[in-house]
């Protein structure tokens, strides 16, 4: 029985439980004299309560049993393979082969006495069924794979049996519990609350999980590379080692990447902030409702374009255009390279315009109308009102909005991968190529790699650095924005 069926059956039990529980509650309700005793909850609440009892514990148990089973099987494969092979890199390869073999056995429906004795035999059988297995398997793997499959079967039986039993038991319990004064309504409310809480916990736990997983790999990296040379190193030259050979030295200086990141972010902000802010002022202060309701969505359309498309635009159109333009301006010599800080910054700036304008628009329209009227009634023009009253009042909020935008710019990946270049160097000419932290993360992780050399692990250190940077900016921005909100409340 597949997992899908188990869930379907549990839900069906839940549905029946709902129906019968609601029915029973209805019968109880109709059979009593309201003058003496008032039913506490509507029948539907009793139904929902029964549904919850029938499904939630059962499905949770199913999830737990399944994940425990997966862990047990994994550790069995791992321990038996490492008993045969000591080298960790080769062992991880063999573990993969065993997994594939056990999948093949399942697909071929082979178990017990039908299992072939040699790996070569299994591979041939698999091949005739259209399944490809690796060449380098060994004979001990076949019984191991078969044994794992047998274990899996037992686990599955236990898990599914337990789940269905629990579902029925839950339904029966909830059904038997139905009383006139049972506070089913309040209990359903509590379950709703718990699931809402659970949903928000997921987001928080994910963040924590991301940080922890990056932290682990980063610590691993720093055990091989001195943090000081990473954070203060001015040379980025990771020297990709040939697969397997380790110990080749590379230099992992963060400074050139950080400078590139900040430089490009700066250029993009220099472009996006004035344009976005003016657009926001126009939208918030001048545009009539009709104009606003068409222009604003159009502007926000820009925000919906995938950033890779911006990157392509930069590489295919804007980069060559700037190069040729600079050649024309300088008489032959193009001082703007096709890939440059300037091009990447401008394109990223275009991407950021809607971010700046919609965040600032919110802040500007949040300034109370009374401020505007007060200024206009004193005979100020609109632009005087904006400059002298509205922008100063909205300033903290705008600063917050700009910080949020800047952290977007710093974390942006696809545009810079395509438009900024890969040359990691310290450079102050905006018309030359520079590279960013995100580009290097992509570079270091491209290809089929094991995460065990500094060359790949550095990606996690970079990622964590970037994360810390943007998180800090976001937290600060939120702090400012919140403080600003209080001002008018």
């Amino acid at each position: 029985m597949s997992a899908g069926w188990v869930v379907a059956i549990v839900l069906a039990i839940g549905a029946l439980a709902y129906f019968f529980a609601a029915q029973r509650a209805r019968v109880q309700r109709d059979g009593t004299d309201r003058a003496k005793e008032v039913p506490h909850s509507l029948p539907t609440y009793h139904g929902w309560l029964a549904f919850i009892f029938a499904t939630v514990p059962a499905l949770l148990v199913y999830l737990v049993v399944s994940s425990v089973s997966a862990g047990l099987l994994d550790s069995r494969i791992r321990s038996e393979v490492t008993a045969h092979i000591a080298d960790p890199a080769a062992a991880s390869l063999s573990i993969g082969i065993v997994r594939n073999a056990s999948n093949a056995l399942t697909q071929l429906d082979l178990s017990g006495p039908n299992v072939p004795t040699s790996y070569a035999a299994l591979r041939d059988m698999a091949k005739s069924a259209g399944i490809t297995l690796a060449d380098s398997g060994e004979d001990y793997m076949v019984p191991l794979a078969a044994g794992v499959n047998a274990d899996a079967g037992v686990h599955k039986l236990i898990g599914q049996g337990l789940t269905l039993l629990l579902s029925l038991a839950g339904a029966a319990f909830a059904y038997s519990r139905i009383r006139l004064r049972l506070r089913a309504r309040n209990q359903v409310e509590r379950v709703v609350l718990c699931s809402l809480l659970g949903a928000s916990t997921v987001a928080i736990l994910t963040t924590v999980g991301i940080i922890l997983s990056m932290l682990g790999e980063t610590i691993h990296f720093f055990s091989e590379v001195d943090p000081l040379t990473f954070f203060f190193g001015t040379v980025w030259d990771p020297r990709f080692a040939a697969a397997g050979s380790s110990g080749s030295e590379g230099q992992f200086g963060l400074i050139p990447l950080l400078m590139g990141t900040l430089y490009i972010a700066l250029v993009s902000m220099l472009f996006a902030v004035p344009v976005g802010l003016m657009a926001a002022v126009y939208m918030g202060e001048y545009a009539s409702n009709r104009v606003r309701s068409t222009v604003k969505p159009l502007l926000e359309l820009l925000a919906g374009i995938p950033t890779i498309v911006y990157g392509i635009f930069a590489v295919v159109t804007l980069g060559p255009f700037f190069r040729d333009l600079s050649a024309a301006l300088a008489g032959g010599f193009s001082f703007i390279q096709a890939q440059s800080v300037f091009t990447a910054g401008i394109v990223m700036g275009v991407m950021l315009i809607p971010v700046v304008s919609s965040l600032s628009d919110d802040v500007i329209t949040a300034v109370p109308r009374a401020m505007r009227d007060g200024s206009l009634a004193l005979g100020a023009t609109r632009s005087e009102t904006i400059r002298k009253v509205i922008l100063p009042a909205a300033l903290p909020g705008i600063v917050g909005a700009l910080l949020l935008t800047a952290s977007r710019a710093i974390g942006e990946t696809m545009i810079v991968v395509l438009a900024a270049g890969v040359a990691a160097r310290i450079n102050f000419n905006p018309f030359e190529a520079m590279t960013t932290i995100t580009v290097k993360i992509v570079n270091q992780l491209t290809g089929d790699l094991e995460f065990n050399s500094p060359q790949t692990l550095v990606a996690f250190a970079l990622g964590l650095t970037l994360f810390t940077l943007t998180l800090g900016m976001n937290v600060y921005a939120l702090y400012i924005v919140r403080k600003y909100r209080e001002q008018y409340e």
Partner: protein
């Protein structure tokens, strides 16, 4: 000079033959399709306080806002008829709205100081209009405006503190100081005391009476007593129409219209 004539000096400066400062003729106001004000004919006499009374939603604020074209800032609002300031039609396309609003100032129902210092709040208008020649001049304007608004003693040591940090009554007086610092000719006040306690209200009423010497004032109020205390002329609005207008004492002691009578005796409203 007898006692009696001294009393007449403080009493309404009715100069029946003097031309009105502002005059509305067949003024109508529409919000989109809906007409909120119908054919209002009203004269605003110079150096007088004119109060606009009437039940909620009858169009007092609407009429007030049309006097300095603040209705222009409301989407879909349209004004018909003719309103003049010293015989100039203020809805004439040739009129500079910004200049008009400098001449016809406004104080709002809810105090709305800018999130700036007390000094900057009052200096805002003079700076924009270049009224002060230099810093000393500006200081003088700010100080005298605060003094006239009866706020000087309370804030003279804290001019650089934010205006939003004052109490409601102080904020309202700050807004009045801000309005008179621009030296308008007409001052429009929309329920300036509705957010204030009786003591702050009394301060402002006294202030209005003093301001009458130099300004022409139009005030919207829901308080009959206030209208009777501060104004020389009263106009009663009902359902978007001007029902009756005249000398305050006549309106309150001897209303000609039944609706006016009902309203001031508390039967409608």
């Amino acid at each position: 000079m007898s006692l009696e004539s001294a009393a007449t000096i403080a009493a309404p400066v009715s100069r029946p033959n003097a031309p009105p400062k502002m005059q509305g003729e067949k003024v109508g106001v529409f919000y989109g399709e809906k007409q909120a004000l119908f054919d209002v004919d009203l004269k605003i006499e110079q150096f007088n306080v004119t109060s606009l009374i009437g039940p909620s939603g009858c169009g007092k604020s609407t009429f007030l806002r049309s006097l300095n074209r603040m209705n222009d800032t409301i989407d879909g609002c349209r004004v018909v008829g003719k309103i003049t300031l010293d015989h100039d039609d203020i809805y004439d396309p040739a009129i500079d709205v910004v200049e008009l609003r400098a001449r016809v100032g406004m104080v709002f129902q809810k105090p709305n100081p800018f999130p700036k210092s007390i000094y900057e709040n009052v200096a805002y208008g003079p700076k924009i209009h270049g009224i002060a020649r230099n810093k000393a001049d500006l200081d003088e304007i700010v100080h005298s405006s605060l003094r006239r608004a009866g706020l000087w003693n309370e804030v003279k040591d804290r001019l650089q503190e934010p205006g939003t940090g004052l109490s409601g009554g102080q904020q309202q007086r700050l807004c009045i100081a801000r309005a008179i610092a621009t030296k308008p000719e007409v001052l429009l006040m929309d329920e300036p005391c509705s957010a204030l306690d009786p003591i702050a209200t009394a301060v402002i009423e006294e202030l209005i009476d003093e301001l009458r010497e130099n300004f022409t004032i139009v005030i919207v109020t829901h308080s009959m007593q206030q209208a009777a205390r501060v104004s020389q002329k009263t106009a009663f609005f009902h359902l978007g129409k001007l029902i009756e207008e005249g000398k305050t004492e006549d309106i309150f002691t001897n209303p000609k219209n039944k609706q006016t009578q009902d309203y001031i005796t508390g039967r409608i409203g």
